[in-house]
């Protein structure tokens, strides 16, 4: 790993653990084994570092969601594929995904939120697109697409977060393939089955 990547990695580690605002640049460069001018050479500012961090990872995420959303199949199949990809991505990029979630929920006037907002928006639009494309299968949606999109991402994100939270409080919240199936099934058909 070159210094640029070392900085990105140590920034992610620290941002994930304590959040963007609670971590200083000095700590980031110390952990990466470099000095501040190196960080400012590559990223220009602390916010620039965050931007590059988001760009590199979000590209993978959004591309994967788009692929899963464009697959052939009916709504249940697509939602299952999207959920599966989500949980896989969250597992293999756990620090990044949870950090991004934290940013999404952070104060609207926070600089870091404003940096992540465009990525989240395109993300949300892709999920919304799934339900709009499925309108023929769902009958009269009466504008419930948004409700579904919000509900679906809300369930997925909360489950992802609870996996990490569960480890902390020593409860088990693993998301196996069967669990993924149950989550999507519950979303589609409710809890009475």
């Amino acid at each position: 790993m070159d210094n640029r990547e070392l900085i990105l990695q140590s920034a992610l580690d620290l941002f994930y653990a304590r959040g963007y605002d609670a971590v200083g640049v000095q700590e980031i460069v110390d952990r990466a084994g470099v000095t501040k001018p190196t960080l400012y050479y590559y990223f220009g500012s602390k916010l620039g570092l965050l931007q590059k961090l988001l760009e590199s990872q979000c590209q993978i995420l959004n591309q994967g969601v788009e692929e899963a959303a464009k697959k052939e199949g009916n709504l249940p199949e697509i939602l299952y594929g999207v959920a599966r990809f989500f949980f896989d991505f969250a597992a293999s990029h756990e620090k990044f995904y949870l950090f991004m979630l934290a940013l999404f929920y952070s104060g609207r006037e926070n600089e870091a939120f404003q940096t992540v907002a465009p990525f989240i928006e395109s993300h949300y639009n892709m999920i919304l697109g799934i339900f709009e494309a499925a309108a023929p299968q769902l009958g009269n949606m009466r504008g419930r697409q948004k409700l579904f999109a919000v509900g679906f991402t809300g369930v997925l994100n909360h489950h992802i977060m609870m996996v990490s939270y569960g480890r902390k409080i020593d409860e088990k919240f693993e998301i196996s393939n069967e669990t993924t199936y149950e989550i999507v099934h519950q979303f589609l058909y409710g809890i009475y089955t």
Copy 2:
């Protein structure tokens, strides 16, 4: 409002807008029209201020959820009541609820997260209790109580957050009584109805 309350209010305003770590005590006391020793007289530290803020509001929240959860009725009725209370509380205490959500999603090693964690935990246990109490109505739960509790709170929280987010991007995400009904209905019976 006395100085103590002025400090709590301006702290909430600022924490909500930019997050706990991004806001300094100087800014809080400036906004409240007092000076730092006054803040330290009442709260001892910045973290102590956060603690008092959480205590005062969480008590109202958790008490309301408990009442809604203990009401007579079948599961759908109880869940609707809980959701209704949640959305009402989030509307009337919007800044606080969204700030608490932000804390919940923030880094696990962040001091502020550790302060909010116990409140969230008792909160989660109350929701979990609803599903465990409803086990007779739901047949064999096969340990899905946790899944339901996480899913239900995930949906509610994400909707609450999207109301505020929607205002920002100029989309409408209002949660009327009918919307609340639809959200709970979708949770119970899925999207095909």
